[in-house]
Symmetry: C2
Amino acid sequence: MSDDARAFVPGHVTGFFTVDRDDDPTKAGSRGGGIALSDGVSVTVEQAAETTVELDGEAVEMEAVERVLSALRAEARVTAETPLPLGSGFGVSGALALGTALAANAAFDRGLSYNELVTIAHGAEVQAGTGLGDVVAQARGGIPLRLEPGGPQYNYVDAVPERARVEYYTLGELSTPEVVGGDTEALTTAGERALSAVVKEPTLPTVTRASRQFSREAGLLTDDVREVVADVTDAGGDAAMAMLGETVFALGTGLTDAGYDARSCAVYPAGGTLDE
Amino acid sequence: MSDDARAFVPGHVTGFFTVDRDDDPTKAGSRGGGIALSDGVSVTVEQAAETTVELDGEAVEMEAVERVLSALRAEARVTAETPLPLGSGFGVSGALALGTALAANAAFDRGLSYNELVTIAHGAEVQAGTGLGDVVAQARGGIPLRLEPGGPQYNYVDAVPERARVEYYTLGELSTPEVVGGDTEALTTAGERALSAVVKEPTLPTVTRASRQFSREAGLLTDDVREVVADVTDAGGDAAMAMLGETVFALGTGLTDAGYDARSCAVYPAGGTLDE
C-alpha cells in the first residue's frame, strides 16, 4: 500500500445550469454547460491519525472533502494547491472532493472504479450544498454539456468538440448554497433554454452567448460583472459570467484586449486523474 | 470557415472484449477493457476536390474514414501520422475514424457535438468491420472499461483510475474482420468473465491478469506472443496480448527488463480532441 497519492482536477467555469433536486444525492444535480480549465487543483492525500484539509497552506473546513474521506473510511491529511480563488465560480470545492476521492482511493488501496469515485465526490458536494454539477463536469474535462443530472450512473454528458485559450478575471465571491438553496424555478427555466440553444449548435461562441443570456434571465448578473462583459464585447471579444462567482471568463485574449489584468489558461481536455 | 483542422486520438490496446452484434451500428459494438496510449494518431483534414487518405506518407484505403467523411458530406484530404503499426491491435483505424470526424467537423464547420462525432466514427468502424470498441475507448481515454456496447447514446463506460508507463512490442498482424466476423460465442464468454473480474477489482494488475486469461480462453494467444509474455513474467513484470494483433503490452518497464527492444509510452488520460 502506498501511503500517499496525488491527483489533479481541472477547474470548471459553469456558464448556465439548472437545479434538479432528488432525495438520492447520486440522482440529484444539475444540467448545464461550462468549460474545464487547465488551471485546476492538485490534491495530495496522505494517511494520517486525524483528517485535516489544507488549501494553499491554510487550514480549511470542507464538508464535501470530509464526506468523501468518510465514505472511503479514511483518515487523511489532505493538502491542495490551486491558482484559482475559492467561492468565485471555478468549482474549487468540487475539484477538492474529486481529487480527494481519486488520491485517497490510491493511498488507501480502496480499489474503486473511476465512476464510483465520481459518484462519491458528486454525492458529497450535493449533500454539502456546495455544488451540483462541477464534479461531473470535472470528471469529463473539455467543454462539458450535462444533458441529464446526477452521478455517472444516471447522467448523460456530451461536449463541445473544441479547444481554446481561456482568460478569467474575478471581482468577488457569490454563495452557491444561498442561490441553489432558494427558489430556483426561473433559474432552471433559463438554464434549460440555454442548454437547448447549445445542443442545437454545440460551438464555443454559442456557449458564451447562451451563458450571457442565462446570467441575465436567471437574475444572477451583477453590475460589476455586466460592465466587464460589456468591455470585452466592445473590444471585439467574447465573455460571460462564471456561475457562481463574481467572475468573468473570456475566449482567446478577450479580457486582456479589453485592458484587464486577466489570468490565462486553456480548455483542459481530460477529466481529473491521478498524477503519473 | 477554416479550411483545415487537426486532431489527436490516443492509440488503444484492447486486453479483452466481447462481440455484441446489432443491426443498428450505433447499438452494435463490444464490451471490454483496455488502455488508451499517449502514442496515438495525428489526423489533419483539409477541404479538397476529392477524398484521399494518407497514413505516414502512404496512400491507404480506409473504409471507416471514407464512411465518416461521407456522413459529414465532406470531400477532404486526410493525412495522418502515427508511431503505431497498423493491424497490430492499437486501434489505428478507430483513431483515424475519430480523428477524421473531429477534424472534419471543424474544417467544414459542421457544428456537431462530441458524442455525435463519436457515434459517426463508431458506426463507421462497425460497418467497415475493422473495430467494435476502439472508437468508444479512444473517446474516453485513460483505462476504459466498456460495460455496455454501442455508441455514446447506448453504452456505459467506466475506467480504472490509474496512470502508468506502458511498453509495447509488436511481432506481427492479426486480422480483426476475420476474428470478429467468425463464431464469437466462446470469445464473448471469455470476455464477459474478464470484464467481471476487472469490475470486481478495477486495478491495472487485474486488467493485465484478466487480459492474459482472456487471450488463452478465447484461443487468440499465438505461440510467439505467449513466449514474450512469459519472458516478461519471468523478469518480474506484467504483460498481456493486445487484441487484435501479435502485440505484447506491458506495465512499467516490463518488456525492456526482459530484454526486448520495446517502445514506451504512457496511459493517455484524455479522449481524442482537436489540437489547440
